[in-house]
C-alpha cells in the first residue's frame, strides 16, 4: 500500500514528483496486490477440490448394491455442457482482450455472453440432477452418489456464484467504465472462470469419462 508508493517513488529517483502522480502508481500497486491474493485463494480452492476428488475416488465403487453412475448418467448431455463451459472460458478471454483494447461495450457484451453460457451450463446441470433424482439416485442413495452430487454440485455452486459476481462487475463497468479497479476485477473473475473450467475438465475426466464410459 502506502509503502509501495514510496518504493515506486524511490525507484523513480525522488519524492518531488508529488503525490498526484503517486495516486496512480498506488492504485496500480494495490490492484496487483489483490490479484496476487486471488492467486493464493485459487491455491486454497485447488486443495478444496482436491479433497473432494479424493473423496470421490475413494467412494467410487461404494454404491451399496444400488444404481451405479454408468447405469444412470447420460453422457451426451454432459458432453454438450462441457463444450458450453469451454466456450464460455474462450469468450471470457475475448472479453479481457476487448478490455485491453479499451472497448467498454465489447467488454460488457462478451462478459454477458460468457454469463449466458455459464447460466446454460448451470441449467443443464440442474436438469441432469433432476433426471438422476427421478431415476432414483439421490444424495442419500449411497456413498457413491453422495460423493458424486457433492463434487459436481460444489463445482456448479462455484459457477453460480461466479455468475452473480460477473453480473455485479458488469453493472460496475457500466457505471464506472474501465478503470484500474474495474480492470483488476475483470481480470480476477476471468481467472476464476478459467480455473472453474480446468476443474470441470477434471470432473469430466474422472467422474464422467472414467466413471461412466
Amino acid at each position: 500500500m502506502a509503502h509501495a508508493v514510496s518504493r515506486t517513488a524511490n525507484a523513480h529517483g525522488g519524492h518531488g514528483a508529488g503525490h498526484g502522480g503517486g495516486h496512480h502508481d498506488e492504485h496500480h500497486d494495490q490492484e496487483s496486490l489483490k490479484t496476487f491474493g486471488f492467486w493464493l485463494f485459487l491455491i486454497t480452492d485447488v486443495i478444496l477440490f482436491g479433497t473432494l476428488f479424493a473423496t470421490y475416488v475413494v467412494l467410487r465403487f461404494s454404491t451399496d448394491g444400488g444404481p451405479t453412475g454408468a447405469e444412470l448418467i447420460e453422457i451426451n448431455g454432459i458432453i454438450v455442457s462441457t463444450f458450453i463451459l469451454l466456450t464460455s472460458s474462450f469468450t471470457s478471454g475475448i472479453a479481457v482482450l476487448e478490455m485491453n483494447k479499451g472497448n467498454k461495450r465489447g467488454l460488457i457484451g462478451w462478459l454477458a455472453i460468457t454469463a449466458l453460457l455459464g447460466a446454460s451450463f448451470v441449467f443443464l446441470e440442474v436438469n441432469e440432477f433432476m433426471h438422476l433424482v427421478h431415476e432414483g439416485a439421490t444424495i442419500g442413495t449411497s456413498a457413491y452418489w453422495s460423493a458424486f452430487f457433492t463434487l459436481v454440485g460444489i463445482h456448479g455452486l462455484h459457477v453460480s456464484l461466479g455468475l452473480v459476481w460477473m453480473i455485479s462487475i458488469m453493472l460496475q463497468l457500466g457505471r464506472r467504465g474501465i478503470t484500474p479497479v474495474t480492470k483488476r476485477k475483470v481480470s480476477i473473475i476471468s481467472l476464476y472462470w478459467h480455473f472453474l473450467d480446468v476443474v470441470w475438465i477434471f470432473v469430466f475426466t474422472i467422474v464422467y469419462l472414467m466413471g461412466v464410459m
Binding site: 500500500m1 502506502a2 496486490l33 491474493g37 460423493a147
Partner: protein
C-alpha cells in the same frame, strides 16, 4: 400458549444441571452488566467506531488477544472440572454425559478458540511492525477474519447453555458424530462454529502470506526478515494448504447429518475411516501451524535477551520451512491402530521421526544463541528458557509414540495425553506467553509488573510438571483417555490426585496473570521509550503504542536486525541514515461490513443448527448482500496529510 413457550424453552435451553444453571445465570447477569455499563457511560458509539468497525491491525490484534484469554479461562475451567472428577475413584461430580461434553469443548476451545486467536493476535500486533509496513495487505479482510473467528467461537460456546454441547471428542469421529450416534444439536454447533471461524483463519493465512511477500520495507530481503516473520510465513503457508481440507471435511459431515448423505455413515457404504484420514490431514498440520510461530517468538526473545544475533539464521529458516512441508506427511501416526498395514505405518513412523531433526536443529540454535551471551532473565526470557527442556522432553515422548509397534500400547492412553499437553503447553502456550510479555509494552505502551509475572511463571511451570508427569505413568498403567471414572482397585488414585493438584497450580498461575495485568493497569506508568527491551528489530524503532500509520517514514532496511545495527552506528558516532521527507499516507477506511457479515454467518449457522430455514436463508442472503455492498463501494480509503503526521509525531516524540 404458556405451555408451548415452556416446552420450547426447555428444549431450547440446556436444563437439569445445577452447574450449567449457574453458568446460565452468570452469563445472563454479565450480559446485562455489560449492556448497562456501555449505556450508562454512553460508550456504544465508541465501541462501534473504535473497535467493531476498525480495520487497524493493532486493534484487531488486541481484540484477538482479549478473546483468546477469555477462551483460555473457559477451557481452563473445563480442564479443572475434569481434574476434580478424576481426583477420586467413582466420583459423581460430573455425569458421564457432561464429562463427554467437557472434554470435547476443552479440546476444541483450547486449540481453535484459544491458541489460534492468540497466535493471530500476535501476527496482527507484530508482523506489520516488524516488516516496516503500515498495515496488512488486506485490512478489510483482516477485520472480516477476526469477526468470523469471533462469531464462530460464540456459536460454539453458546451450545453450552442453548441446545446442548457437542460430546463426540474434539475431532468428532464418525460414526459417533453422525446423526445415529449424536442426534442432539451439539454436533451441529460444533460443525458450524468451527466452519465459520475456519473460513476466517484461511483468509488470515492468505492475508499474511501476501503481507509478508509484498509489503516489506524497502531493502528488507527475505533473508533479512526477523525470524518471527519467517515463522509466520511458514505457518500461514501451512494454513493455506491445510484449512481447505477442514472446510471440506466438516461440510461433508454436515451434509451427512443434514441431507442424509453417506460419506462417513456405517450404512449406505459410507466410510468412517475416511473422515479420520481427512480430519488429520488438516489436524496434524494444524499443530505445526500453532507451534511454528512460537518457535519464531523464542528466536526473537532469546536473541534480544542474550544481546546476540540469532545463531544459525539460515538453518532456522530451513528448519521452519521443512517442518511446514513435512507436517503434511505424518497424519496417519494418529491412528497406527487403524490397520493400514505395516508399510503404511512404517512410512508415517519415519516421516514423524524425521520432523525431530529440524526441531532439534532449532533447539541447538537457541542454545548457541544464549552461549556466551549477556543473558537477562526478564519474564519473556524465562518462558523461553523454560520452554527448551519442556519441549525436548515432550518431543522425545513424541518420538516414542511415533514407533508404530509401540504405539499400539500408548494409543489413546494418558501417555498420549501427557505428550501432547507437554508439547502444546510447553511449546505453544509458553511461546505465546513469551510473545505476549515481550511485545506487551509495544502494544499498550506500559510494562507488566515483573514480580507478579515471575510468580505466574513459577506456578505455571511447577503446576505443569506436577499435573502432567504423573499422567505418563498413568498411561503406562493402563488408564485410557476420556474415561470419566475408574474403580478403586486400579491403583490410579494417588497419581490422579497429584495431577489434579498440578492442574489447580496452573489455575492459580492464571489468576496471578490476571492480577499482574490488573495491577499494571492500576499503577499505569507510561512507557517513555519505544524500545522497551533494547530490541533488535524495526518494531522497537517507533513509539509505543505505535501511531495509527505505524511508520511516519518507511524504514530503509540494510541489515538483518536493522534497528540494532542502527543503534550500534549511532553509538559509534557513524552517520545515521538520512531522513526522507514525509509524504501523505494512504490508509483504509473503517467498515462495518465485516461485523455485519459475520453476524449474518452466525445467524445462518444458528438457523442450520436448529433446522430453522426461516433463519438460515435470510442469514445467507445477508452474507451475499454484504459482499455485494462491499463490491460496489469504491470509496474505501483516505489520506493522512503531512501536517497531521507532523502533529502526531511531535506529540509522540515530545512526550519522551
Amino acid at each position: 400458549m404458556l405451555d408451548k413457550i415452556k416446552d420450547f424453552a426447555s428444549e431450547f435451553f440446556v436444563t437439569g444441571d445445577p452447574l450449567i444453571l449457574g453458568a446460565q445465570v452468570s452469563i445472563g447477569l454479565s450480559v446485562v452488566a455489560i449492556i448497562f455499563t456501555l449505556t450508562f457511560f454512553k460508550k456504544w458509539r465508541w465501541l462501534w467506531t473504535e473497535w467493531l468497525t476498525t480495520v487497524d491491525h493493532k486493534k484487531i490484534g488486541i481484540m484477538y488477544v482479549i478473546a483468546s484469554l477469555l477462551m483460555l479461562f473457559r477451557g481452563g475451567v473445563d480442564a479443572l472440572l475434569m481434574r476434580v472428577q478424576l481426583a477420586a475413584p467413582q466420583l459423581d461430580f460430573l455425569q458421564a454425559e457432561h464429562y463427554n461434553q467437557i472434554f470435547t469443548t476443552h479440546g476444541v476451545i483450547m486449540i481453535l478458540f484459544m491458541a489460534m486467536p492468540l497466535m493471530f493476535g500476535l501476527f496482527n500486533l507484530v508482523v506489520p511492525l516488524q516488516i516496516g509496513a503500515r498495515d496488512v495487505a488486506f485490512p478489510f479482510l483482516n477485520s472480516l477474519s477476526f469477526w468470523m473467528f469471533f462469531f464462530g467461537a460464540m456459536l460454539f460456546n453458546v451450545s453450552f447453555i442453548i441446545g446442548g454441547s457437542p460430546d463426540a471428542g474434539w475431532l468428532a469421529y464418525p460414526p459417533l458424530s453422525e446423526l445415529s450416534g449424536s442426534p442432539g444439536l451439539g454436533q451441529d454447533f460444533y460443525i458450524w462454529g468451527i466452519q465459520i471461524s475456519g473460513i476466517g483463519s484461511l483468509a488470515t493465512g492468505i492475508n499474511f502470506v501476501v503481507t509478508i511477500l509484498k509489503m516489506r520495507a524497502p531493502g528488507m530481503k527475505l533473508m533479512k526478515m526477523p525470524m518471527f516473520v519467517w515463522s509466520v510465513l511458514s505457518s500461514c503457508i501451512t494454513i493455506m494448504f491445510a484449512f481447505p481440507i477442514l472446510t471440506v471435511t466438516l461440510f461433508l459431515l454436515f451434509i451427512d447429518r443434514y441431507l442424509g448423505a453417506h460419506f462417513f455413515t456405517l450404512d449406505g457404504a459410507g466410510n468412517p475411516m475416511m473422515y479420520i484420514n481427512l480430519i488429520w490431514m488438516w489436524g496434524h498440520p494444524e499443530v505445526y501451524i500453532i507451534v511454528l510461530p512460537a518457535f519464531g517468538i523464542f528466536s526473537e526473545v532469546v536473541s534480544t535477551f542474550s544481546k546476540k544475533k540469532l545463531f544459525g539464521y539460515k538453518s532456522m529458516v530451513f528448519a521452519l520451512m521443512s517442518i511446514s512441508f513435512l507436517s503434511f506427511f505424518t497424519w496417519a501416526h494418529h491412528f497406527f491402530t487403524m490397520g493400514s498395514g505395516a508399510n503404511v505405518n512404517a512410512f508415517f513412523a519415519l516421516t514423524t521421526m524425521l520432523i525431530a531433526i529440524p526441531t532439534g536443529v532449532k533447539v541447538f540454535n537457541w542454545l548457541f544463541t544464549m552461549f556466551r551471551g549477556r543473558i537477562t532473565f526478564t519474564t519473556p526470557m524465562m518462558w523461553a528458557v523454560a520452554f527448551i527442556p519442556c519441549f525436548v522432553i515432550g518431543g522425545m515422548t513424541g518420538v516414542l509414540l511415533s514407533v508404530a509397534p509401540a504405539d499400539f500400547q500408548f494409543h489413546n492412553s494418558y501417555f498420549l495425553i501427557a505428550h501432547f499437553h507437554q508439547v502444546i503447553i510447553g511449546g505453544v502456550v509458553f511461546g505465546f506467553f513469551a510473545g505476549l510479555y515481550y511485545w506487551w509494552p509495544k502494544v499498550f505502551g506500559f510494562r507488566l509488573h515483573e514480580g507478579l509475572g515471575k510468580w505466574a511463571f513459577w506456578f505455571w511451570n511447577i503446576g505443569f510438571y506436577v499435573c502432567f508427569m504423573p499422567q505418563y505413568a498413568l498411561g503406562l498403567m493402563g488408564m485410557t483417555r476420556r474415561v470419566n471414572t475408574y474403580d478403586f482397585d486400579m491403583g490410579w488414585q494417588p497419581l490422579n490426585v497429584v495431577s489434579t493438584v498440578g492442574g489447580f497450580l496452573m489455575g492459580i498461575a492464571f489468576l496471578f496473570q490476571v492480577w499482574q495485568i490488573a495491577h499494571s493497569i492500576r499503577f499505569y506508568k507510561k512507557e517513555q521509550n519505544g524500545d522497551a527491551w533494547d530490541g533488535r528489530t524495526l518494531e522497537w524503532s517507533i513509539p509505543s503504542p505505535a501511531p495509527l500509520y505505524n511508520f511516519a517514514r518507511l524504514p530503509q532496511v540494510t541489515d538483518q536486525d536493522d534497528w540494532w545495527e542502527e543503534k550500534q552506528r549511532i553509538a559509534r558516532g557513524e552517520p545515521v541514515k538520512p531522513l526522507t521527507p514525509l509524504e501523505p499516507i494512504h490508509m483504509p477506511k473503517n467498515s462495518g461490513i465485516p461485523f455485519i457479515m459475520s453476524l449474518c454467518w452466525f445467524t445462518a449457522g444458528f438457523g442450520f443448527v436448529w433446522d430453522w430455514l426461516w433463519m438460515a436463508i435470510p442469514g445467507l442472503i445477508g452474507v451475499a448482500i454484504c459482499m455485494l455492498v462491499r463490491s460496489f463501494s469504491y470509496d474505501t480509503d483516505y489520506y493522512i496529510s503531512v501536517q497531521e503526521i507532523e502533529r502526531t509525531e511531535a506529540a509522540l516524540r515530545g512526550s519522551k
